[in-house]
Each structure stands twice: as structure tokens, then as C-alpha cells.
Symmetry: C2
Subunit: 124 residues, 2 copies
DNA sequence: CAGGCCGGATTACATACGTAGTCTCAAATG
DNA sequence: CATTTGAGACTACGTATGTAATCCGGCCTG
């Protein structure tokens, strides 16, 4: 998978959120919130097209873009990359790090508890 | 904190692992394993100096470099950045993602269990 | 048909980054 | 003192990225 830059990933997020989108919709979705001119959005789109991360096609609603990469795959790639770089590829050390630095919210803890319980249940 | 590139972070890791290090030691520590020429390492060092991520000084063992940024701070910044970008700033969704994609090792689960238990114990 | 619109290509410029060589000046050494 | 060594500055070149404008060809509309 070719690298998708942070700016480019914001286009992807818009398309993952709702797809397909017309060029105008993409511009409206990401332009104002990022302070981008339409030309900037168009450039990012062109780069994503070149990277085959999205595809454009004429559809019932007119010309539209849709993602060619699943968000889960992108998220996995980015996350695993960070874990590989900083935590020997494993999840637990990252969680431990947040715990040690008081950056685990009580909400996080509650959800992690439920998650672990579910994982163990699924194992039986 | 100024951005530290991946290549630069490898110099940091060497200094976090063992510090202070002479220029020669840094080159030996990161050069071969990354396929870098000494000039490349020197460039990366110069950039880190400019970013004030490391400092060089004459010491008992000669001229040495030491990190000016704690690994924990760097790790927190990078990790939080990823969580902010992809997981609404929270840890649990990342763990859930790995669980859903069958990317949580049994070792991870075991350690997470212990970690959660410890957190709850520390709360009492 | 002519003009306008639109999507993608192309261009522009600056910074960051990866990789590496060269130069300069100060300190160390013989 | 002269020479060597070494650290950091500077240079080089290509790619990636951020931000944005312009251009070109095809299609649609009046």
C-alpha cells in the first residue's frame, strides 16, 4: 500500500464516512474544516487517484469518488507501523505506556475491561 | 516539540538506549543496521541538534551526544497523535480494532488483563 | 455551434525528509 | 609549530508533502 499523507487521509476519512461523493461534496466536506481552497482539495484528490487509493467514475448521481482502500486496512497499517516502531509490535506496551503516564481515561479502562471479558468469552 | 522524522528517531533510540555516546559510537550503533554511511548519520545528528532534540558536549569520555527529549515524551506524542487521528484520541478503540482484526496476541491479552487488574487495584 | 463547466493533468513554490559528500574551523597530536 | 582529526555547517539531489493556481480536453447546455 502506498503511503497516504495526513492531508490525503482527511479526504479518505470523508469518503469512508460517506461514499460515493461528488467532487463538490468532497470539497465541501474537507475544505472549510481544514482551511483548504478547492484547488488544494483537487490536488489531494489527484494524488489519491494516482496512488489508486480512490477511484472516480460517472454514476447515477453524476461524477463521484469512492475509496479503494478500506479504512480498517489503513488503520491497521498505520497502527501496526507505530507499534512496530515504538512498542516492539505489540499492543499491551502501548496501553501500559498510557497507564504509566496517566493518560488512560476511566472510560478507556471500562471499555478495555469489557473488551478483555469479551475476548475471553469468545475463546470458550 | 518539533517533529522528529523516522530516520532521526533511530538516532534518538540509540541515545535513549545508551547515553551519552560519542559520534563514533552513534555511527556504529545506527549505521550498519540501517545501511547508512557515516555522512548520513552525521546529517541526521546535525538536524537533531538544530531541533534541540539532542545536545553535544565535551565530556570525560570526549565529545558526546545525549538526548534532550525523554523517550516517554516522544512516545506519548507520537502515540497520542495517532490516537487523535484515527481513534478519537482514545486507547480502547485501538485495542478493539486489533481484537476485531485478529491482531491481538494471547500474550497481549494476558498482559492487558494484568494491567487492568493493576489499574483497578491502584484505584483502591 | 460556441461557450461554459468540470475533472484531471500540469505547474509552482516552499518545507521536510532520505541519503550522502564536501568544506571549514577548532582542537588535538606528533 | 605543522599536521591531522573531528564536529558541524553547508551543499547536493531526489522524493514526499502542503497549499494552491492554471491549463487542457471532453462534455453539456443554450
Amino acid at each position: 500500500m502506498q503511503q497516504i499523507s495526513e492531508a490525503e487521509s482527511r479526504i479518505m476519512e470523508a469518503l469512508w464516512r460517506k461514499s460515493p461523493l461528488t467532487p463538490e461534496q468532497v470539497i465541501a466536506a474537507v475544505g472549510p474544516e481544514n482551511g483548504w481552497a478547492p484547488a488544494t482539495v483537487k490536488t489531494l484528490i489527484t494524488r489519491l487517484l494516482k496512488k489508486k487509493a480512490i477511484a472516480g467514475a460517472r454514476e447515477a448521481d453524476g461524477y463521484c469518488y469512492r475509496p479503494l482502500i478500506a479504512r480498517a486496512a489503513y488503520v491497521q497499517s498505520e497502527s501496526q507501523g507505530l507499534l512496530d516502531r515504538l512498542f516492539k509490535g505489540e499492543v499491551a506496551p502501548l496501553v501500559a505506556h498510557f497507564a504509566e503516564n496517566r493518560r488512560l481515561s476511566s472510560k478507556d479502562v471500562k471499555q478495555l475491561k469489557a473488551l478483555i471479558a469479551k475476548i475471553e468469552e469468545d475463546k470458550k
